[in-house]
């Protein structure tokens, strides 16, 4: 497409859906109006392992308004288990009498009102045959196995063991990260409405086609008979990517009753009926020469999952390629415990795996007597050390230089405990962030009217990230219209398919599809305008014409207004359907998207280049010298993510990720009772996240970067990158403040006494 036309991409734009959200007109899934809904309340298990001997339902049934109670005894055969996005098998719910984990759905009570359903659910009595559960790493009965290559690769380059043994400077340490939960503010609701054989599902989703396809399989019905609607989503963070068990049971409840059924689960149920970030353990060995060049990198990870699942995130796929190193060895183990199956959570592999690598790099810098930023510079590389492929672009050190300058890193005294403010020890730390530039296939329909209005229709997902707005920006730019003349329809399986809104892939996937559709519109108009005898653009070079400011224009200034240009190809509106298949993916990948299967080109698995977003993060901490509280008065991050479509929402994404990273490093952990294998702080008053007072100053810099290889629009994605380096940057700053190296998160008062 002609160059020099980018005027709106890269300009900050307010959210086009902002007014609807602020005024309450935006309908989240459980706000959608359905006729005469019945209300469901889930009964969940209070044991983590065993079987259900039987239910006592008389008291529950006696509650006025109760309509139905679903258990494995009456509906167990009506649905297959949901198929997770990764990791193969998963735990069951009402399919059988088996209890796999605490908080598992074991019954669904349906009543005329929410209150009646809740009351009856509390009156359901369950006889369990309880067995002793295993909670986590080290619990009796937990089973460990080596994760086989398949969904994820292991890397074996050179001879890491020999190189480590021979290295003059070494780090050899173990690290750990805790269980965490997404807790999006919108709860995990589901509303199901049947109309004959047709089912409509309202549910907050990161993948409406995935929900449709998987639900169809579970219920043995045609995907085309299911319509999934998810116009607005109140936060997702990975928790709404794959289908979970609740959806099918609500659909079955609605079918049994012949009436719409709405489920709004509780906050604590959100800890066990969907996925979470599993706890991890790590062993890292780094070897280096005296000038800081890495000679050996060994990273072994351990991850908790459920009994039947193989789910793991294998962040070694990123840690193996962040720095130049000739000898690399990675391995991942999974540990099966009596837990629900984990899943995606913001930067699923990188958040837990970059933490140990980036703390180990800091430890190596200390061992070498080298500045941590300079250590990264010495090991910077434009070639992926794991595969030998070039990086399509890599601006890691530009990020370090810009963020470091803004932070004032130059004035840092490298000695620990060297800075103080009264009784508060002050420390500065930094870390790298890296996340693959992923992209999925997407289809879109773009319609242009003679009045200069455009409509974009795509089954994309705005999970709070600003997807509505980046779609409008892209169409407005490519069609030469003001943003307010573009309407966007997304979040429904009646629309052309787009992939999962996850893995920082969505903006790249959907905007490239829109650009492709707009280019087809431009070509149609341009060709019609040049082959005619009677217009201002007659005989011009069609490929040089652009749509700008409501007209089709030549480089020399000739123009034809949109109405006239459009009238040459249609008497009505021009509608174009386009599919964008990212480089490296097969044509069938768009069919897979329609079928609800995930297909994504990943930055570490491409054949032509390795594509990654990089960032650098700096943190100041204060640690009280007597009582050990850690506070973060300021943090600066810089990120290079290729084309930034909307700097306003991109900036929000980055600071949001950084704030989450502060919380992940210092506050967040889902506590599990070691004997009962049950979550204990499953609520927002005891599961701590940062409040305003915890984040006085957070700055994000978007470093300009152009990448012509990653995808046509050069978008690398930045949904995840903001959190990736924060855990380590905080930890490294705590070391600098105190001289204490805390290798398990979260870092708490008791670690620093």
């Amino acid at each position: 497409m002609p160059d020099g036309t980018q005027t709106m991409i890269g300009q900050p734009a307010l959210r086009i859906d902002g007014r609807a959200k602020l005024t309450g007109r935006a309908r989240y899934a459980s706000d959608e109006v359905v006729p005469n809904p019945a209300h469901a309340f889930l009964v969940t298990s209070s044991i983590a392992r065993g079987r259900i001997r039987g239910f006592h339902l008389d008291q529950a049934r006696a509650v006025p308004g109760v309509l139905d109670i679903l258990t494995h005894e009456n509906v167990g055969g009506e649905a297959e288990k949901p198929k997770p996005m990764a990791g193969g098998d998963t735990t069951s719910t009402l399919e059988s009498d088996r209890v796999w984990h605490d908080g598992q759905i074991i019954a669904v009570v349906v009543a005329d009102s929410f209150e009646a359903a809740r009351e009856a659910a509390h009156k359901v009595r369950v006889d369990y045959e309880a067995e002793r559960p295993s909670a986590t790493f080290g619990s009796p009965g937990a089973e460990e196995e080596v994760r086989k290559a398949g969904e994820h690769k292991d890397y074996h380059v050179g001879d890491a063991e020999a190189a480590f043994a021979a290295a003059p400077f070494k780090v050899d340490a173990r690290y750990g990260t805790p269980t965490q939960h997404h807790n999006p503010i919108e709860l995990f609701t589901t509303t199901c409405v049947w109309n004959g054989s047709k089912l409509t599902v309202y549910e907050p989703s990161q993948f409406v086609y995935g929900l449709r396809g998987n639900l169809a399989q579970q219920l043995h019905i045609e995907p085309g008979d299911i319509h999934v609607i998810s116009r607005y989503v109140g936060g997702a963070f990975g928790s709404r990517g794959g289908i979970t068990a609740r959806t099918a049971w609500i659909a079955i409840a609605a079918r049994r009753l012949g009436r719409p059924v709405r489920l709004v689960p509780t906050r604590d149920q959100g800890f066990t009926i969907v996925t979470y970030r599993a706890e991890t353990r790590h062993h890292i060995q780094l070897g280096a020469t005296s000038d800081g060049r890495l000679t050996a990198l060994r990273h072994e990870g351990w991850e908790v999952t459920s009994r039947p699942s193989q789910y793991n995130v294998s962040g070694t796929e990123t840690t193996a390629r962040v720095y130049a190193c000739p000898n690399i060895l990675t391995k991942v183990n999974i540990v099966h415990a009596d837990r629900n199956t984990p899943g995606f959570m913001r930067a699923p592999p990188e958040t837990p795996y970059m933490f140990p690598l980036e703390v180990a790099m800091d430890e190596l810098a200390v061992a070498l007597g080298m500045d941590p930023v300079e250590l990264r510079r010495v090991n910077d590389t434009m070639r992926d050390p794991a595969t030998g492929l070039e990086y399509s672009s890599r601006s890691l050190m530009e990020c370090y230089d810009q963020a470091g300058a803004r932070f004032g890193w130059k004035s840092r005294d490298p000695a620990p405990r060297s800075m103080r403010d009264g009784d508060w020890l002050v420390g500065w730390g930094c870390a790298s962030a890296a996340y693959p530039a992923n992209i999925g296939p997407a289809a879109v329909r773009v319609t242009l009217t003679p009045e200069g209005r455009a409509r974009v229709q795509i089954a994309a997902h705005d999970i709070g990230t600003g997807a509505y707005t980046v779609l409008a920006i892209t169409a407005a730019e490519r069609l030469g219209l003001p943003i307010e003349h573009v309407t966007v329809e997304l979040g429904g399986s009646e629309l052309p398919a787009a992939g999962l809104a996850a893995g920082s892939s969505h903006t790249a996937g959907i905007c490239n599809a829109v650009a492709k559709a707009c280019e087809e519109i431009r070509q149609k108009l341009a060709l019609a305008a040049v082959v005619t005898n009677d217009g201002a653009l007659s005989g011009q070079d069609a490929s040089a014409l652009v749509l700008r400011e409501g007209a089709l224009r030549s480089p020399a200034g000739a123009k034809e207004d949109l109405r006239a240009a459009l009238s040459r190809v249609t008497g009505g509106v021009l509608e174009v359907y386009a599919e964008n298949i990212p480089q490296g993916l097969p044509r069938e990948s768009i069919g897979k998207a329609y079928a609800g299967q995930m297909s994504m080109s990943r930055g570490h698995s491409r054949q032509d280049a390795t594509t990654y977003t990089f960032g650098a993060q700096f943190v100041e901490v204060r640690v009280h010298s007597r009582t050990g509280e850690v506070r973060v008065p300021r943090a600066v991050g810089a990120f290079a993510a290729g084309t930034i479509v909307n700097p306003l929402t991109a900036h929000s994404q980055c600071i949001g990720g950084m704030i989450w990273g502060i919380g992940a490093a210092l506050h967040e952990a889902t506590e599990i009772d070691p004997n009962a294998a049950r979550y204990v702080n499953d609520n927002l008053s005891e599961y701590l996240i940062p409040v305003n007072a915890d984040v006085p100053q957070v700055e994000a810099i978007l470093v300009p970067e152009r990448d012509d290889r990653v995808n046509p629009l050069g978008i690398k994605g930045l949904g995840e990158i903001g959190i990736v380096g924060m855990n380590a940057a905080v930890c490294n700053a705590v070391w600098h403040a105190t001289g204490r190296r805390i290798r398990e998160l979260p870092i708490r008062i008791e670690d620093l006494l």
Binding site: H624, R631, P674, R678, L753
Partner: protein, 337 residues
């Protein structure tokens, strides 16, 4: 769906009469409803099931005032936390009280919650607050205590028993305990009495379900904090996991009457560490008549935690508590008054 009677009371007599009327031998006692920030929460999560709520909001006129005079400070039971936190006399003459309130909850809650309700707030022990746990002697007497071998990082190390290690979660009450405050009570039988604040809450012992010495239907009307030469040089130090809106991991109340560098009298309280609002007479005695410095502060802290009992996750709390108290003592000594 869990029916209960709701009765607004027009005045103190009416409230007391309503409480007596709704009391039944085999049912949980009726509850007075003021700000409701803790009670309604506990009802919603299925921990408390009072048969009746008696709304005492209308009693604010009679029992909502704050007065300071030469004898001390009188705090109406129904004064809001925010009103006391922002009261000029409290800010200047009883800074520990103002700070304990300012650092509790958040502004919205402080605008709703009353002082007596705050004092009576119940533990944050997760095993108590989630009825799906079978073993909780406080919630289900005789059922055991899951917390002792479980997640107990925030639970108590002082005043605990075999039956219960729940911590008293509040801030303000620790200052009332340390300052030797008195509680005014009105009884449904028509009388009234005053008891030392330290006697309002009970240690768990074998009956952790009984948290106070309030008699059936008794209503807290006010608190009286006696004046003393130590109240001006006082502070509340709260150590918590995040900067705001979090319960104390450990906290300390310190009030000092200093002559030169020597302690004539000290008032010391602890929070987040004990089964009830806590005054450390041991720490006070260790300081009386002595020069306050790092080493005497440390001795006082050792004395305060001599009886501490820990349960794994909370093993660090005696040390944190000692450090918190030492820090508070030294910071109080530096105050300009």
């Amino acid at each position: 769906m869990r029916p209960f009677d709701y009765e607004p009371a027009g005045g103190t007599e009416a409230a007391l009469a309503a409480s007596a009327r709704h009391a039944a031998p085999d049912a949980p006692p009726p509850q007075y409803l003021a700000g409701g920030t803790n009670l309604l929460d506990l009802m919603k999560i299925g921990v408390m099931h009072p048969p009746a709520l008696i709304n005492i909001g209308a009693l604010r006129g009679a029992h909502g005032g704050i007065e300071a005079d030469a004898s001390g400070l009188r705090l109406g039971a129904l004064a809001h936390m925010a009103e006391a936190a922002e009261h000029p006399a409290i800010l200047s003459d009883y800074p520990a009280i103002a700070q304990s309130l300012q650092q509790a909850a958040n502004q919205q809650l402080r605008n709703m919650a009353t002082l007596a309700g705050n004092v009576l707030q119940r533990t944050r022990c997760n095993y108590f607050r989630d009825p799906s746990w079978d073993a909780c002697n406080k919630r289900r007497p005789g059922s055991g205590c899951a917390a002792k071998e479980g997640v107990n990082r925030l639970l108590a190390v002082l005043g605990v028993s075999e039956a219960c290690i729940a911590s008293y979660p509040g801030d303000f009450a620790n200052v009332l305990a340390a300052f030797g405050a008195e509680v005014g009570l009105a009884s449904p039988e028509g009388g009234s009495r005053r008891i030392p604040f330290e006697d309002l809450h009970r240690l768990p012992g074998d009956t952790p379900q009984i948290e106070t010495n309030l008699r059936p239907g008794e209503l807290i009307t006010d608190f009286h904090v006696p004046a003393g030469p130590w109240t001006g040089r006082s502070l509340y130090l709260k150590v918590r996991d995040r900067a705001s809106f979090a319960f104390a991991v450990a906290s300390a109340v310190v009030a000092l009457d200093l002559a030169g560098g020597t302690v004539r009298e000290a008032r010391i309280g602890l929070g987040g560490l004990a089964a009830k609002p806590w005054r450390s007479h041991e720490a006070e005695a260790a300081l009386r008549g002595r020069r306050l410095d790092e080493s005497t502060a440390q001795e006082a802290a050792e004395a305060a935690f001599a009886g501490a009992v820990t349960h794994g996750e909370n093993d660090f709390k005696p040390e944190l508590g000692r450090r918190t108290l030492v820090r508070a003592l030294l910071e109080a000594a530096e105050m300009e008054v």
